[in-house]
């Protein structure tokens, strides 16, 4: 028998993920919610456009409008990432998994890689789909709309898909550190919604971090009309990815050390 390798652990995680109906339900939910929000965000844009002020017309960003679905989609994809780890803690299956793959970094890395693959594909497909749906609805109302070849459009759509994948990884990290679904999802909601909502209350040093925060600075990547506050949106997204990497790093450390 040849020694068990990383590829085996990857294969096992893929079998686990695809053999749960909840995976497919969550993905279906992701698309239903994403496309639904995109339709709502663009469906009435015609009236809005015609009654808009000059300043509002200047900031008119059909791409960002069709991608606002990210707001809700990040939660759904976060649930998917969380469950990859916390569902195993809830049942005790994590022990069985570690009996099969006692090298803990290998097991967690396999979960991260498989989830990344699924989240990158789902995130990209979702962002392209919401973009196309949103633009079609805008075109039907005869208001200015965007095309994939337009300036900054592809960057926003692809960047948006990566943003969602990064949130899924963040959720895996939270799930591993907190070991409970409810705790991890509550924390995720706090990070992506509560902190930005309370942004004004934080001390000055923290404001700098908000430039790289989900739903805040890191979400600048969704825009095609330049925002003077975030001249280089990919830097802001990169900063968020570094933060996610730090959380994942902590997850690897505690997963290695703790008894299960």
């Amino acid at each position: 028998m040849s020694p068990a390798r990383f590829g085996h652990a990857l294969h096992a995680e893929w079998v686990k993920l695809r053999s749960l109906q909840s995976t497919w339900y969550t993905l279906a939910c992701l698309f239903a919610v994403g496309l639904g929000v995109a339709a709502m965000a663009t469906g009435r844009a015609g009236d809005e456009y015609r009654s808009a002020s000059a300043a509002e017309l200047l900031a008119w960003d059909p791409t960002a409008r069709s991608l606002t679905a990210y707001l809700v989609a990040q939660l759904v994809i976060g649930v998917l990432g969380t469950l990859v780890v916390t569902s195993e803690y809830a049942t005790g299956l994590v022990r069985t998994s570690l009996v099969v793959t006692p090298r803990r970094h290998r097991l967690l890395a396999a979960k991260v890689v498989v989830t990344t693959a699924v989240a990158v594909v789902a995130g990209q497909v979702l962002m392209f789909a919401t973009f196309l749906l949103g633009q079609a609805l805008l075109a039907a109302q005869d208001v200015p709309h965007a095309e994939l070849g337009g300036p900054g459009v592809l960057s926003a759509v692809v960047g948006g898909g990566l943003y969602l994948a990064a949130i899924a990884l963040f959720a895996i990290g939270l799930g591993t550190i907190l070991r409970a679904t409810a705790g991890a999802i509550t924390t995720l909601v706090g990070v992506v919604f509560l902190v930005p909502a309370l942004a004004g209350l934080f001390p000055a040093w923290f404001q700098g971090l908000l430039d790289f925060w989900p739903t805040q600075g890191a979400a600048a990547v969704f825009a095609t009309v330049p925002n003077p506050a975030y001249p280089h949106p990919w830097l802001n997204l990169g900063g968020m990815c570094l933060g996610v990497a730090a959380v994942l790093g902590a997850a690897f450390v505690v997963f290695e050390r703790r008894d299960v």
Binding site: M1, S2, P3, A4, R5, H8, A9, H11, A12, E13, V15, K16, S19, L20, Q21, S22, S87, E88, T91, G92, L93, R95, T96, S97, L98, V99, V100, T101, P102, R103, R257, D259, V260
Partner: protein, 304 residues
């Protein structure tokens, strides 16, 4: 052959010493019963053996190596710690398939262990719909995937009906017959007496006994014999004359000590005494176990 070796194992949780300088071995070809009252540290010891919990001191090896250094763990060790440890939404077959591919085992092993545990018919059912007995079987199927030389079961008969208990007991015996080392924990002595060849008894994390089953049973002192005969008074005199101690038992029976049942039978035959009953009475195994662990149970009930 020594398959599991536990050497000076100590495990602390905070200030609690849960396993205290414990040493024992598990040999191939026999069932080793791992016995102790609730909270004695059995599950903790098994977790350390499987690398799930880190020892505070001491070392544990499986087939001469640390568990995490085994190149293909499932081919060396199969374990069932908790039958509930399956995702209820996953089909039995997919559950086993995920475990098998994780060690690069061929897919046909999944069908083989499903057949061996009698689960072929429910392979495509979700584990959440399984009864406790079926979950135990699924857990055992998982443990057998890699055809391992060592098997570890934590309280496998807990909550099972008599048929399920019988099945698991016979199954463990057959695994040992095939030359595997089987370590099985329980807090029921009577259960172990019917399954185990060797006993490791712990209490409060300390080793209390490490002995063969037959030695353990023999060492529990002489038994008494229950005798029933229409000529009780006369036969009692003859027994006393032969050197036995006799007292009256329930329903005008005689409780005889100091003579084996065979000798009592011979005596009756010699005197032409009709015997209605001749039953060796062993002190119950449970009594022996409680005697052994009396000082080490965690929470002692107060007897009124």
């Amino acid at each position: 052959m020594t398959m599991i070796e536990v050497r000076g194992l100590t495990k602390r949780y905070g200030l609690d010493t849960v396993v205290d300088d414990l040493s024992f071995t598990v040999e191939a070809g026999q069932v080793t019963g791992f016995l102790g009252p609730n909270g004695a540290g059995k599950s903790t010891t098994m977790k350390v053996i499987l690398g799930l919990a880190a020892p505070t001191r001491g070392a544990v090896s499986v087939g001469g190596r640390r568990y995490r250094d085994l190149p293909v763990p499932l081919t060396e060790v199969g374990a069932l710690l908790d039958a509930g440890a399956v995702h209820g939404g996953r089909k039995a077959r997919d559950h086993l398939l995920a475990l098998a591919v994780g060690n690069g085992l061929p897919r046909r092993r999944v069908d083989e262990v499903l057949a061996r545990t009698g689960l072929e018919g429910v392979a495509h059912k979700r584990a959440g719909a399984f009864s406790l007995g079926m979950r135990q079987r699924l857990g055992i199927a998982a443990a057998l995937l890699g055809d391992p030389k060592v098997l570890i079961f934590d309280e496998p008969v807990n909550g099972l009906d008599p048929e399920g208990i019988r099945w698991i007991r016979d199954f463990m015996r057959s695994l040992a017959h095939e030359g595997r080392a089987v370590l099985v924990s329980s807090h029921l002595m009577s259960e172990m007496a019917q399954t185990a060849d060797h006993l490791v008894v712990i209490g409060r994390g300390k080793l209390i006994a490490d002995t063969g089953m037959t030695e353990f049973l023999r060492g529990r002192g002489e038994g008494v014999v229950l005798v029933r005969t229409p000529e009780a008074a006369a036969f009692a005199l003859r027994l006393t004359a032969a050197g036995a101690a006799v007292r009256e038992g329930p329903d005008s029976s005689l409780v005889v000590s100091g003579l084996a049942s065979e000798e009592i039978g011979k005596l009756a035959a010699y005197h032409g005494t009709v015997l209605g009953e001749l039953t060796p009475q062993r002190p119950s195994l449970e009594d022996a176990f409680m005697e052994l662990t009396r000082d080490s149970v965690e929470y002692q009930g107060v007897t009124a």
